[in-house]
Symmetry: C2
Subunit: 314 residues, 2 copies
DNA sequence: CTGTTAGCGCTTTCAG
DNA sequence: CTGAAAGCGCTAACAG
């Protein structure tokens, strides 16, 4: 396709404004060394001509790229991405998106490393990087900032604290398969008694949650509160308990350590990562690095309790 | 931050390979006019030197940008985005992401139009563009491809067809607020009788769905099936009916015209857009346009019924 | 098939 | 404060 169009270039603007291209460049970028009057006038003219700096040429000449690569394994974590994108756009950076969800595209990406000399920094959002992958990124010689999912332990601590504050002592903990650590100490630390039958594992699905609820209902005593590490499991527990005639939160309170569309929709109290904000914070850190020390860093999603309708007094 | 590094440029490679820069350029891009032997050797050397073409310079000189702007209003539609990104990356295009979720960033974007001379095409994913916005994009003079949500009418047709196949005749239709058209004709066309009290409106929330279910339960006759235009509403209906002791699908079948995490998790039969595939198809169309006629086009998410556990014989 | 020569549209010294 | 000149690293004619 041939496009023979609107090549309003900087020199066009310069000519129209009766100054040199250098002055236009300085004026438009807010560089010092231009009188305010000139700057205003040039900006004016540029806008009238709908002129926009050609990034390619600008990068080539200036050495800066004004672009950040955003790597993510899971577009589902939408707000994190949205927050980061907004902050970057506002700061004048392009966002080059790379969705590294499946193994194929992921290995492909790290083999090709298509970022060479193309970005000023890298943001890795909720994707756990292998050693080799981190190393590959390091060769780009630009700052890398990672945002990981918040850690379960502290989320659990917050949830349990909330429940204890409501007077609960009998708290069951449902962990999604794959979670292999023990979290008893968190309960112990709060002075709670550990009952083995109240620590349950479940596949990370709604059906799994329903089975867990069944197991709970079959026990000789029901806890007054349930904490689930996974949102879908929480929903399963919620639905089964309700169907069994248990009122939530009157009979049983429920907290999810994982906040999702699901839990939000149903009104389940949950620990949410402040995703949007964290995305913005990560961008701030990255831009700081770019301007400053060039260092890399790792951020955890900050945990925050959102009390909804599934928790109440014991 | 000062970066005084690895500026392996094309001429470095050329020197190392004992050829001219032009030859390296041709060889690396697969352009004709290079002997196979030379191409192989040059490629070899380049790889060994870890050389990667500088996109900026390449674009500047060549006039092509190898970048596509992807506009989306809703990162939640993850698979569409993932599909498009994968296809674009494979084709060698950068993806410049713009999340135009909230009004502020959206108007900001269309006022600034930061894309001038920066992309070879635009992909608008599940975002309905206003007249003025389309016009703004048109000024970029690059192909624009849009992928819209599938249309409700055809989704409804599929859902109703499915239910009728299962023997249902008493079908209630729940529309989320904002849907203003009448869909009676779809039912009529299938030979169904229209009962006004079985066409209900609801806020697009779980609570709204629960209220709808209440209204249904209060009626003098219960439909044998419910179709909801919205996933969250469907979930609300689902939960309330179950709590009221109605078995799904034994007593009542339920179909959502909108497939989401929610409906998937709970196992509600739904009409899903084949998002990933559609993303790839849109990219194919866009790349075709870029190479060819430069035309723009609109794609609908292709509707597909996913039968889960919420529908069964009447 | 390959090399040479001009730029692409900016930013950046360096003078003025 | 402003302008002129010299590239940034490539690609695209044009010659050989």
């Amino acid at each position: 396709m041939i496009r023979e169009v609107d090549v309003t270039s900087m020199s066009d603007v310069a000519r129209a404004a009766g100054v040199s291209a250098a002055t236009v460049s300085r004026a438009l970028r807010g560089e010092p060394g231009v009188s305010e009057a000139t700057r205003r006038y040039v900006t004016e003219v540029a806008k009238r001509m709908k002129y926009a700096i050609a990034r390619d040429a600008s990068s080539l000449a200036g050495g800066r790229r004004f672009a950040i690569a955003v790597l993510t394994g899971d577009v589902g974590r939408g707000d994190l991405l949205a927050g980061a994108e907004g902050a970057l756009r506002q700061a004048g950076f392009d966002v080059l998106l790379y969705v590294l969800g499946d193994a194929g595209s992921r290995t492909g990406f790290f083999e090709e490393m298509p970022l060479g000399r193309r970005v000023d920094g890298v943001l890795a959002l909720s994707i756990v990087l292998a050693e080799a992958e981190s190393a590959a990124l390091a060769t780009l010689d630009v700052p890398v900032v990672r945002v990981d999912d918040g850690d379960l332990r502290s989320a659990l601590r917050i949830a349990v604290g909330h429940l204890i504050g409501l007077g609960h002592r009998d708290i069951a903990l449902v962990l999604a398969d794959g979670v292999d650590e023990s979290y008893d100490e968190v309960l112990v630390a709060e002075g709670l008694e550990i009952r083995p039958e109240w620590t349950l594992w479940s596949s990370p699905t709604v059906v799994g949650g329903e089975q867990v609820a069944d197991a709970l209902l079959d026990g000789d005593r029901l806890p007054t509160a349930v904490v689930s590490s996974n949102g879908e499991v929480a929903l399963g527990v919620f639905m089964r308990l309700r169907r069994d005639g248990r009122a939530i939160p009157a009979d049983i309170s429920l907290v999810s350590l994982d906040d999702r569309d699901l839990t939000r929709a149903v009104g389940i109290t949950a620990i949410e990562g402040a995703q949007r904000e964290e995305g913005e914070r990560a961008v701030a850190a990255l831009l700081g690095s770019i301007r400053g020390d060039g260092g890399s860093s790792v951020h955890g999603l900050s945990a925050r309790l959102v009390v909804r309708d599934s928790t109440g007094p014991a």
